[in-house]
Symmetry: C2
Subunit: 341 residues, 2 copies
């Protein structure tokens, strides 16, 4: 019934040749008579032969699979990275095993262990929001598992990283806000361990300093990276005596959450409070949210290329690739006619 029952042995028996000859025909070796080759190919086709990859993989000690672990894949961001990855590795005959850690470092660990058991030849990882134990990754590196981090990376590790310059682009966002005349700019930051959180916060601080604005600690709050976390941030900021006139959120989900919360409280964006995000999302675009566009496909592609090179043992020196990005200014931060100053 199932076609995968047919093996080269069957073809060999059927044609009265040896399995080696069949194998040669199937792998179009040159050391085979064209006629026998054609016969075998025809027969294989007729018998609906399908090679058993597992046998071949066992022999070659390969699996032709890589693993990808991301915090989630229900929003566009990681899926787009994954598409970039697939595009590159499929072309090289690799399959991709995709796991989502659901922002839990425990599940992340389990995923990675599952992927190891599945014998993936390499791993592309974007860590969960609470990942701060690096032992697992240290072990992987020590065991020479090809490994590339994307977006949410672990700079402490001597590994491959593919990122944008979060610090620089956060600076640009805040600089834009300052140039629009906003002076009391709050920052809703992400989870403390995350590389992107630290970098974007630093960019925010850089910009204030560069433009001689005071850093007000009470305008900075770590709320996390998810949309529903915006509420506590907005609640807090609006409770201040001196309310902010702009909010720079760690990412688009939080920024979108802010806009919704502000609207709920009848604050107008940007008239009363401007809002900017990061890692431009489709939903942010629809809401006219100022944000930083990340080249997601490109991130995936570059990460995949680096991983393949590592798998093939080309270059083994870990390296950080920093890709370009773009600040897109939209209605959520454009003040109506020289608002102030």
């Amino acid at each position: 019934m199932t076609s995968s029952k047919v093996t080269i042995k069957d073809i060999a028996r059927e044609l009265g040749v040896s399995i080696a000859t069949v194998s040669r025909a199937l792998n179009n070796s040159h050391e085979i008579h064209p006629e026998t080759k054609q016969n075998i190919l025809d027969k294989a086709n007729e018998m609906r032969y399908k090679p058993n990859i597992q046998a071949r993989n066992l022999l070659k000690r390969r699996s032709n699979m890589i693993g990808v672990v991301v915090p989630e894949f229900v929003t566009f961001f990681f899926p787009e990275i994954i598409i970039g990855i697939q595009e590159v590795v499929n072309k090289e005959g690799f399959q991709v095993l995709i796991c989502q850690s659901n922002e839990s470092s425990t599940l992340e660990r389990k995923n990675i262990e599952m992927l190891e058991e599945s014998m993936v030849e390499g791993l592309i990882v974007s860590v969960a929001k609470d990942t701060n134990n690096l032992d697992l990754f240290r072990r992987l590196i020590q065991e020479r598992m090809p490994l590339v981090f994307v977006n949410r990376v672990l700079p402490e590790l001597n590994a491959n990283h593919v990122v944008i310059d979060d610090r620089k682009w956060a600076f640009k966002v805040v600089e834009h806000l300052i140039k629009c005349g906003y002076r009391n700019i709050a920052h809703l930051a992400g989870n403390e361990h995350l590389s992107v959180t630290k970098q974007r916060l630093q960019g925010y601080l850089d910009a204030l300093t560069a433009y001689n604005l005071p850093v007000k600690e009470h305008l900075i709050m770590h709320v996390g990276v998810q949309q529903d976390r915006a509420k506590v941030g907005v609640d807090y900021l609006l409770s201040l005596r001196e309310k902010p006139d702009a909010i720079f959120a760690v990412n688009d989900p939080v920024a979108v959450g802010c806009i919704l919360e502000l609207k709920k409280r009848s604050y107008k964006v940007p008239e009363d409070i401007a809002v900017a995000g990061f890692s431009e999302s489709p939903i942010g675009r629809v809401m006219e949210l100022t944000s930083v566009y990340q080249p997601t496909f490109e991130i995936g592609k570059i990460a995949a290329e680096k991983l393949l090179r590592q798998i093939k043992n080309y270059d083994l020196t870990p390296e950080t690739v920093t890709l370009d990005a773009k600040l897109n200014i939209r209605a959520s931060t454009i003040p109506p006619h020289k608002k102030r100053q």
Copy 2:
């Protein structure tokens, strides 16, 4: 270096036992002395032994992998279905190979062939918008490949399907519009071959008929399922002498596209034209779009369960599972105070 170099042979040699004994210990067989077993387990641990799944799979003629092919996974919908799938099959020790056809039946075919080559034990598929050649699927069914369709199904095929009642829920959407007083309800339909297109169109027709409203062919247009396709639909509908007062779009992306296009032309939603979608999306929620919620996780879970049962040969009679859904009414269709009538 690489831990996966250690085999049961190595452990056996190290301990002076046979590989059979090692195998027994590792598979906690009962026919082994507890002490030798413990020794072996300790040694395996010490040597960082990792079983070679491929060898085991080869022997057992399994792969422990299933394939999933969806049109895309950058919007929430299919990712959520996939999460449901993973949840079920991971628990059973299966891995999931995910492919996106990018709405192309050609790529869909390639994906499926790639998955076959990877020796997946079953397939969960949601077809591309232009899939109308069923030969590939007929072959799969004939070759007894376990197969479940979700959302975009092929009713012509005697296969497993997991869906909601698109016709019924489209009826409910249009019924709601009618009850709100809208009388000139247009339908922007999807690609003609798609099951969901046909069903939702039928539900639209059902509702008009049920409420004794005339079916106006010129208010129906097949535009496709992607957001950017809304433009041609809106252009057309607004060019009519008798413009519609409501639009029922085949899905949320098209509905969102409509709202954006209407706003661009200074039409107010819902005051000038109401808009309803289908398959509620996060972006739709933010835009206050009336839509039908689909139980995405559940769809994935049920599909996975059916597939596993097929793989294990439990029940082989193909079946269509119809899950419940929910109409969520939001601002995009609520007329301001008995608008008309």
